[in-house]
Amino acid sequence: MQGWLAPRYLMWLGQGFGVTVGLALAAAVAATAAGSALAMARHARYRPVRYAAGAYVVAFRNTPLLVQLLFWYFGVATLLPEAVMQWLNTPHSVHVAGLAVHWPSFEFVAGWLGLTCYSAAFIAEEFHAGLRGVPAGQHHAAAALGLTPLQAFRYVVLPQAVRISLPPLFGQYMNLVKNSSLTMAIGLAELSYAARQVETETFQTFAAFGVATVLYIAAVAVIEAVSHVVAHRRDLSFARR
């Protein structure tokens, strides 16, 4: 045993973990919003909207995430005007209520965009499955009760659809945390990047990747726990009605 990692390297891993968590959270929020919009679009009344949403899902679900990340980082960067790239690559900060808010690096923005677009397609499919999982009889029953289509959707279909899609949705969040490691290819200093950097400097391969593994497991475990709590709460609140 070569001893334990020096505090400096543990700090690097900690910072990397912070970036991973921040990236996964930001992408989860955006992907959930985009995913619900896409799922709605797949059930839209107008056919072109349905087709467009379907095409998006096919395009983003059936290409490797790594390729998409490289596309956003290298491909889009060459299309943007030089002045825009310069702005994106220089640090900016805004002072809000005495706190300095930093504009993230372009690596982070590209990684966030890539993960969001990719995960949104999967989340849209989970919501889509949830909506389709509500039996047609429920729609008819709601209509027979005199509810408008919007009311029927809001009070009858949606609660049941959410109940069906919640477990796979949390599964997608776990995938998101794991997929975020691919952003190391575009130079984002997240947990995997930090682990590799620590390994390069210390040659303590086992310790470096071991710590990273434990942190990933911890992050995914937290998501799993939250998923259980949310499911339990929902069951309770439904029981009370």
């Binding site: 290298f74 060459t78 390069t200």
Partner: protein, 270 residues
Amino acid sequence: MKSRTLAAWLLGLMVTVSGIAHADRLDDIKEAGVLRVATFDSNPPFGFVDPATNHIVGLDVDYAKALADKLGVKLELQPTNPANRIPFLTSNKVDLVLANFTITDERAKQVDFSIPYFSSGQQFLAKKGVLKSPDQINSLRVGADKGTTNEITLREKFPQATIVAYDDTPFAFAALRAGNVQAITQDGPKLVGLLASVPDKQNYEIPPFTISNDYMGVGIPKGETRLTAFVNETLKGLEADGSAGKIYNRWFGPQTKTPLVRIFKIGDKT
């Protein structure tokens, strides 16, 4: 041929016997009329087989030739790989090693080194006019190769710089082209090689400074002080009469495919 081998063997025996009194490789070389030098045969532009002539040529070979000419003896090249350089010297198979041989303390325990005749250092590649001097690096975004000593050196020397590490040099260069980083760092000769195949190379430059250096010297058998002194004097002489500059320009000059400004001169470091 046979008699010559016998003569050489007898000479070798005589030398070994007399060697107990005074071991001097410089006299042996002069007597044999041959300088045996180990060089690379597949490491352009230091030593490689020229497809047109089937002879080993390169920067190291030119220096070996200059040493042989100075002695007035024939040059005999022995192709080697990196791992065989020290064994060739310690087993007396060659008299000198000129094979991109970086001087390290570890190697200096087994062989002697001349003064350096070539230096390769960590340099930068940037769009023209962006990077002029090392003190600008702290305010730049610099791309490096993941897991290389270049990345570590850069972080140690320029802690303020934003370092973005990529999987390999082509990725780093793609990031430079896309404007994600303002400069990338690598060993000078590698950057030149990278730039050689770029269509719009006139837009890029390698600023003429290094932030760390590896020095290449001539490997000499341990304890051959007269031979070492001869090699050092010859190298200094080559620098003084301009031959060293000519040799450099033949392989790294502006007309070559891999132009790199000559920063290091023989005698800069001893």
